[in-house]
Amino acid sequence: VTASGSWFAGLALALLASPARAQTASDQDPLVLGEQVYRKACVPCHGVRGDGAGPVARWLDPLPRDFTLGTFKFRSTMSGSIPTDADLRRTIDRGIPGTAMPSWQYLLSVEERDAVVAYVKTFSDWFEDGVYPEDILVTDAQLAAAPPETEPMRAAGKEVYARMECAKCHGEDGRGNPDNPLEDDWGRPIVAFDFTTGVYKGGNSPPDVYRSFTTGLDGTPMPSYADSLDETERWQLVYYCLSLSRRTTVRDWLLHPPTWNHRVQR
């Protein structure tokens, strides 16, 4: 995250402080409440029209999400599908590490966060049909059934990494492949994730990484592996990739120093 990014996010939080809370009423239409909350908390970055062109957006990198296309990175659904309400709530609750998007968990009530989810969905007609049940790829039950992390799992994950040609974008060492320049859906240059940073935008718990590998990150070149890997293989890959950012000895730190802010990770 850029310094200015944090500063503006902080300003947004400060502006939010009291008034929205005072108006909270349980009998309110969620969209009315959602709009109130959105105008106070979200507009500075995401803009009045939800197009990601708020007044401070120009100082942020990565840029705030444009909601009008209904394209979202962090989903439990198939690539190209809209996220579920729970997916949007998760992002609002946690924020997005490595970006200006803060966690709202302790700043907005549950009611306010649910209302703003409903309001964000009004910016794109892609939400009109709702989520197709067959598009849901990752369920809580699946995540709860995660196999334990073991050394053989990580070793197998390394093979999956090679077989899936992850190195094509992420490099043999997980730090990216400069020979393969990439663009996002808006035509802006984008750098493949550097696994050694450990700063996964969708969250760095194994279920979070599993979700991203399964669904892909829409708006970026990261594709869905739902049809290419079975569940066990996905968990193996998760544990291997997470191990790339693990530094337990002085030797690890010397050989693999962190690459914070070497490049902007979008």
């Binding site: 190209g80 040609e165 094509k168 808006w186 892909g216 070149p221 290419s228």
Partner: protein, 254 residues
């Protein structure tokens, strides 16, 4: 199914990548190789056309055919050193791979969906251009022993699917739920790969064959805007009036 619908569905066979009769159970190779060629026998010329052919014509151009070879920058054992550009396919001034359709029409019941196929073979998409009704299923096939990252956008901006396809003979069906122009590219560094799938919410569309001709069938009498689209040469529209007695001949020069 009434007769008109059957004829219309039959008309899709040479036009779309594959017709509705192609079961997904066919082997990947035959499923992708058979539907592609559009020869002169399968599209009736204006002279042979029956009454159900309402609009017919030829798309011509003075633009030279694309002759350049696109440089292959990686995966040479599978992709070769260069692939031919498929941008402008012209023979004797007749333009292939142009999509001709009635613009801005709505129908109460959308046309029956089809099973369409997009193959990746020799690091090219086959077919390069196809048109299908909305709600159809597009089965994406990887016939190459290399990672393809099949990324499709609607209207040039909205991702509708983004699939990693690391395995040879992998097949992934994806629904085409919204009408519009879908373009496909490969994010696995195969920057030369491109394909177009035009998705329509009405049945009156066609892709020109190698002879530049097209035919729209069973268009109800009326006045319409007829539009042609080509990936490189742009779009052109004209007004046509369809009557029940004789087919309208509407040629385009792009």
């Amino acid at each position: 199914m009434n007769r008109a619908l059957v004829i219309w569905l039959a008309s899709l066979l040479p036009i779309a990548a594959s017709g509705p009769g192609e079961a997904p159970s066919e082997s990947p190779v035959s499923a992708v190789e058979t539907p592609v060629p559009v020869d002169d026998e399968t599209i009736p010329s204006a002279a042979e056309a029956e009454v159900d052919v309402s609009v017919t014509g030829t798309v011509t151009t003075e633009a030279p055919p694309s002759t350049e070879m696109l440089e292959v920058t990686q995966d040479h054992p599978v992709c070769g050193d260069a692939v031919p550009s498929e941008e402008v396919v012209v023979k004797d001034g007749k333009l292939a791979n142009a999509v001709v359709f009635l613009d801005g029409v709505t129908v109460e019941t959308p046309p029956d969906p089809v099973e369409a196929v997009l193959d990746q073979k020799g690091c090219l998409y086959i077919p390069h251009v196809q048109a299908v009704p909305v709600g159809s299923t597009l089965t994406v096939v990887n016939s190459d022993d290399v990672l393809h990252n099949t990324h499709a956008y609607l209207g040039g901006e909205r991702t509708i699917f983004n699939l990693a396809m690391p395995q040879k003979d992998q097949r992934i069906p994806r629904p085409l739920r919204r009408p519009g122009l879908v373009n496909v590219q490969c994010d696995a560094g195969h920057t030369w790969m491109s394909a177009y799938i035009y998705v329509f919410d009405h049945p009156w569309f066609a892709v020109t064959g190698p002879d530049g001709t097209y035919a729209l069938r069973n268009v109800p009498p009326g006045t319409y805007t007829l539009t042609v689209w080509h990936e490189k040469l742009g779009t052109q529209s004209r007004e046509i009036t369809v009557s029940a007695d004789a087919p309208v001949v509407a040629d385009f020069e792009l």
